[in-house]
Every structure is written in structure tokens, then in C-alpha cells.
Symmetry: C2
Subunit: 214 residues, 2 copies
Amino acid sequence: MTLLDITLTLAPTLPAWPGEPHARLERLQDLANGDPCTVTRLDTVVHCGTHVDAPAHFIPGGAGIDAVPLDVLMGPCWVADVADSVDSLTPRVLDGLGIPAEARRVLFRTRNSALWAQPAHDFHTDFVAFDRAGGDWAVARGLILVGIDYLSVEPFHHAEPWVHRTLLAAGIVPVEGLDLRAATAGWWQLACLPLKLPGADGSPARVVLTRDAD
Amino acid sequence: MTLLDITLTLAPTLPAWPGEPHARLERLQDLANGDPCTVTRLDTVVHCGTHVDAPAHFIPGGAGIDAVPLDVLMGPCWVADVADSVDSLTPRVLDGLGIPAEARRVLFRTRNSALWAQPAHDFHTDFVAFDRAGGDWAVARGLILVGIDYLSVEPFHHAEPWVHRTLLAAGIVPVEGLDLRAATAGWWQLACLPLKLPGADGSPARVVLTRDAD
């Protein structure tokens, strides 16, 4: 079986969303200091690094991450290859990607992924994401999960969270902050597992692609 | 496909290891207060709730959770049913469980699981775990992953972390804090995905069992 980890290492040096704190790892105990064991404490906004958004992030009264169905987060998944010249996932671009009609989970590998060659960088605001009509396209297409290789499915400059609201209201699960550098286009099996945080608006996740060896 | 979530909800009310803080979820922004979105911050010891231990927890210079191989954390898994009368996973008990010789990943469902009917409880010190010789048994048996349904593979009263050291030194991955109430004995596919925390001694994880529907 081929197994591909498409998760960013959740390091304090990852770019944080402007205005939000970086993830922090603190040693409460350390074998190196003579303690009986090493114990780390993790302090992170739930949208740091590779993560899943829940409806509660943008929809009043929306479901928390613990209610996002596992049978959406796990299953067959199509990785779509988006040319480096593409700035925005518009309906025209999306129609041209050759995504099979039966694909319900789609990860979009864009030029964003190249940014993860240097995971310790300042937040980029010019990442590739869905434009407003691209969000509608995902709903019309009947997708249940979309993945993107920078920290939001939504362009940084949007005045309102149009794409998030569209996707989340339709029950489409956004997976953000994927490292798709090594993910070749085509079919995979997705295992995308966020923590089971009660009522939270999202969670960091470990995300893995597998497929039978050729 | 049958899909079973064997993860505890990572709530602040879960029992914390004596002397360690409970998990904390803090709202940094909240739609209900007029903020543009809801944003939660998670602050937790990496051994809270359902979690995976890394060698770095007890072995000086040991590998971090980000280096625990995914092909150990995912794959065929045997759920063993341990009678409620059993206090300790001794070699004699383990030999009597009927675990197939080819099982490399084994989850032990003990009377501990009944405690998760009330997940908000004070830490129990009398949970079922491996005795020292039981840890040696797991190594001799060639296991690569063991799961237990309370917060440690090691009895609370052990003066030294014998079981942890034995398992971790042998490359056996301990998965702790599983809720196995609904896990019937037999073969499943395991997906046990901790966060990718750099060099950390463990991580909360989402743990799921699947199998083909009967």
C-alpha cells in the first residue's frame, strides 16, 4: 500500500492567520532535566496548520467539529492538479480540471503547495482559493469535502466569508492547510481525522492518503 | 461499511492525570457575541483523553509523535474481550484471550470501558492495565501497537514506568484512553491518527475502527 502523509507538522513557526497566535508547545516535564518523563502541553488555535473547519466557524448555531461525520472524512478522494498559472478556483477553471463526475471528495493541488517547501514563513495573502462562484460550483457538483493547500478555501481579500458560508451551509467539509506537493493527481483513499473537540469550530487534523501499490 | 468512533470527546471535564491540568477550550471569537466568526483555542496536555504515546515520553532521546510510523497506526487490528473479573493483563490472562497469532495490533476491551458511560468523572486509580510481565508478553508476541480503555497501559501504582519503557523501547505504540464499549471482539481496520506535533512525547488522536458490513 502506498501511504502519503499530507499533513503539515504543527510547529510554532508555521504561518498563523494574521491577528491570531501561533501554535505553542511547552514542556511541562522533561527527562533531560531529570523529570521522570517528558510531558508537553499544546496550545493552539484550532485553525492552525492542517485543519478541518466545522459549520460552527461561520454559521450561528452550526455543528461543531465533533459532529462532522466520519463517513465524509474517510473514503474515496480525487486529487486534482491545478496549473501554477491559476490564481483562483473559478467555475471555468474547475470545469477544466477533468474531475470525474463520481468524485465527492476533491483535494486541489495548486501552486500553494510549493510554499510548504519552507513551512516556516510569514503568512502569504495571495494564495489560490475558491472564488465566490467556485464555492457555488462545489455545491452544484454535489461535493461533500474539499481540500486546499493553503490555510483557507477563501481568498484573503473577501469582505465577507462567502465561500465558507456557502460550503458550510451545504454540508461540505473544508480541509485547509494540506501539503499536496507529493500527491499525484487521481484516486486515493482519504483518512482525514480531526480531534473530537466538543462544539468547536474546527480542529487540527492528521490527513493521510492511501492507495494500493501499483 | 461499519464505522466505529472509539475516541473520547476531548472535554475539559474528562479525568486528568493527577497533578496535570485538564484540557481547556477557550473562545477567542464568538459569532454569538457579534464577532465575524467563532474561533476556539485548545490548550491541552498531549496525554489527555484518547491519545498516543511516543518513545520521547519515557526514553531519553526517543522519537517524537511525528516520527511514529503511519503504517503502524493504520491497518488490521484485533479487539480482544477481557472479562470484567480481570484486574491486570498478566501473561496468563493474555494467553487466554484467544488473540490470533497473526494479530500485530491489539486493543484490549476491559471493564475500564464502562467508566466512559460517565466521561466526566474523577480520575480512577484502579484501572486495568498491563502488569510488568504483560508488557514483556507484548514484546515477545511481536505486537506493534496496543490499545487500552483507560488513560494508561501502566498500573497507577507502579513505582517505575516499567511497562511504558518496555513497550516504547521495543517500538510498540501505546494507544490510551480508548472508549471500547461498542467495539465487538474480532478483526477491524484501525485508523489511529495523532496530530503531527514536532518532537512531542505524544498527542491526542482520533481513533476509528472500520470493517465491511456483514
